[in-house]
Symmetry: C2
Subunit: 404 residues, 2 copies
């Protein structure tokens, strides 16, 4: 498997585009994205667990109930959530997109991200869709990645190439963060495309399984958004024998999917609102995987630890504290903690108590932009990773006055 350029357009038969249609006041910010497949594709998606769900999610769920879709339309700047006419607007977005592409509205996946509770005006979207569709191109993935950004500071895209039964397949994706991000799912929108042939059922199974160890293990701020969605289209144009059951091909597909999703998870966490550092907590020795996941999530979610990481302060007591209140079944007298970065590794706690360490080396390690927090909790075989970021002045600044 190798990483290739092209993002969401890397797979055969996919084009994309992103334009400024006027939902956002800033004319330099694209706010409407479109991804299209040359032929109908198998589709699967997972959604936020928040009881308050954005209208686009309800509409998308209905549209892909038959396992088929051919396009994804997404606006930024307005979440189309908690609005009386939200469903109607989301249906109109689908209809306008379908009309521009010559496909039925039911084959359109629709998504929105931005402010909650302000009616979404269809006018700019209606005005923008013709040019959006006309500009679809095989090199348009980056424009689409830009158009779905909100407080993101960098666009997030990746693609890989792999082989199924001798056929070259590609799988790529784009994602947006960067606040209101928390397991399970977040204001995280992720759109994935592949030319691999895989049945709708196996596609959903692959996605639902993968998110447990990837997007459900990312937290920026503990707030689970109303509009999260991870959607994948598989158009089969690679020409491999369709994957219809578990086996070597499904495993290879899962590996490609996981490579792409882990990359996007790291991108989302590193670009968390105000973040200066990517935090990765790796837990080993738990009695099982769910226990390891609970511990890893609790550590990357701790506001106190996140603030300490911002300050490059090896305050490992906050790691212990977060493990202790996680609810996981862990013997705290067995816990070990180390910090690792490009500058080295330093052990700060063994058997639940501090060990002497060099504050100078710890500082040097923690001043890096990617920090691993290595936690051992016993002799079990359960392990897990979770991703997060530091808590900074800029997170407060960004969220203190988001609407204006």
């Amino acid at each position: 498997m190798k990483t290739i350029p092209g993002g969401v357009c890397a797979a055969k038969g996919f084009t994309a585009n992103g334009v400024h249609c006027g939902i956002r006041k800033n004319h330099n910010k694209r706010d409407l994205a479109l991804i299209a497949s040359a032929v109908p594709a198998h589709a699967a998606a997972v959604y936020t667990t928040n009881l308050v769900k954005g209208a686009p999610l309800t509409v998308t769920k209905r549209h892909i109930a038959d396992g088929t879709a051919q396009a994804i339309v997404c606006n930024s700047g307005n979440a189309n959530t908690c609005n009386a006419n939200g469903i109607e607007i989301a249906e109109q977005m689908s209809a306008l997109t379908g009309a521009a592409l010559g496909i039925v509205p039911e084959n359109v996946i629709v998504a929105s991200t931005g402010v909650i509770g302000q009616p979404l005006d269809i006018a700019p979207i209606e005005a923008g869709i013709p040019a959006l569709a006309a500009g679809l191109a095989a090199d348009g993935g980056a424009a689409a990645a830009e158009a779905i950004m909100t407080t993101d500071t960098v666009k997030k895209e990746v693609a890989v190439e792999f082989t199924l039964g001798g056929k070259t397949c590609r799988l790529g994706g784009i994602a947006k963060g960067s606040g209101m991000i928390h397991p399970n799912l977040a204001t995280m929108l992720v759109f994935l495309t592949t030319d691999a042939a895989i049945s709708a059922g196996m596609l959903q199974k692959a996605l639902s399984t993968d998110v447990q160890s990837t997007f459900n293990m990312v937290s920026i701020d503990g707030d689970t958004s109303t509009n999260d969605m991870v959607a994948i289209l598989a158009n089969g144009m690679a020409g491999n024998a369709e994957i219809t059951a578990e086996g070597a091909d499904f495993t290879a597909f899962m590996q490609a999917l996981n490579t792409v999703t882990v990359h996007l998870c790291r991108c989302i966490a590193a670009d968390g609102e105000g973040a200066t550092k990517l935090l990765e907590c790796r837990v080993t020795g738990a009695k099982d995987v769910p226990t390891a996941r609970t511990v890893a999530k609790s550590v990357v979610c701790s506001s106190l630890l996140k603030a300490a990481m911002f300050g490059a302060d090896a305050n490992w007591g906050r790691v212990l504290c977060a493990i202790g209140y996680s609810g996981a079944d862990v013997d705290v007298t067995q816990v070990g903690v180390a910090f690792r970065s490009a500058k080295g590794t330093i052990t700060v706690c063994e058997n639940g108590a501090g060990v002497p360490f060099s504050e100078e080396l710890a500082k040097e390690i923690l001043l890096e932009s990617e920090i691993e927090i290595l936690v051992t909790v016993g002799a079990g075989s359960g392990s897990a990773a979770a991703w997060g970021c530091d808590l900074t002045y800029d997170y407060v600044k960004i969220n203190g006055d988001y609407r204006t």
Copy 2:
């Protein structure tokens, strides 16, 4: 019932003191507190739910297993947690205190707050206790309140006077916050004293019941500390007939207790690390009290809402979002939200959707230092309140470099 001065020394027979013994480097910061009763008192306490528990909690639990204590000793600057010799040090603190007061060590409640995982040196405590005990005074409550402060910016004390069977009783307390605060309990230390006569069993019942709607409903940052403790001493010197069962006297006692604890909850939340505003979320119309509590807690815990309140931004979508992911059984199409302060009340959401409102008035209301977030979730009879604070630059500053 009326509020009176004196704090933890308001009740008959209680004296207190606070000194600088040298645990902290700053010579102007008192770091060792002592509260004593003239006679043995009934004692009750509740503790953190964190699996990682400070050594002083283990020792205190053992000491008050018989329902009796006569003094409380507490240091700030070091949590005496995750240290190999923590129990030993906590026992030494009890023994030194007992020796200075002429009481058995088993009648001493011991507490610590500060950095986790750094050995606590007994030397400054040993050197400080004689002067600490010698200086016990009926006007020493404020000194004790100061000595338990960590990142607190103001000392927290209150007392009330009430009547039981014709006898005047008093109940007062001191508290410290102000970070690592989250249900259930936090690095919150609260010491309460009363001269009411009440059996140890009823005292524990009163305290355990009260904390469900008071200290368990306070959150500063979502981090449940390792060292939380709320302890109460009742020395019976008011001369009322001992409360040994539920009834009018117990109800009156509960009311006095609740008045003191709600006051201290508000003090702790208002003085949360970096806070500029006290947030109080009042939920009504839930199907039951636990549901109302879940909703209220989720709202005051949302980092996004807390940041919006710092910016005086009426971003009510974040209230809806927090309700939606709270896990509470709520019909989100029934939810209403209003903001209230000394400047007035403004309704921003009805039936789960936004209503037009004046942004100018909303801003004016939210610029106040005490904000109520009023949430209705239906027609049920369950209601609850939770307290928190805004998320500010200073929270990040305080916690980015706490240890140095």
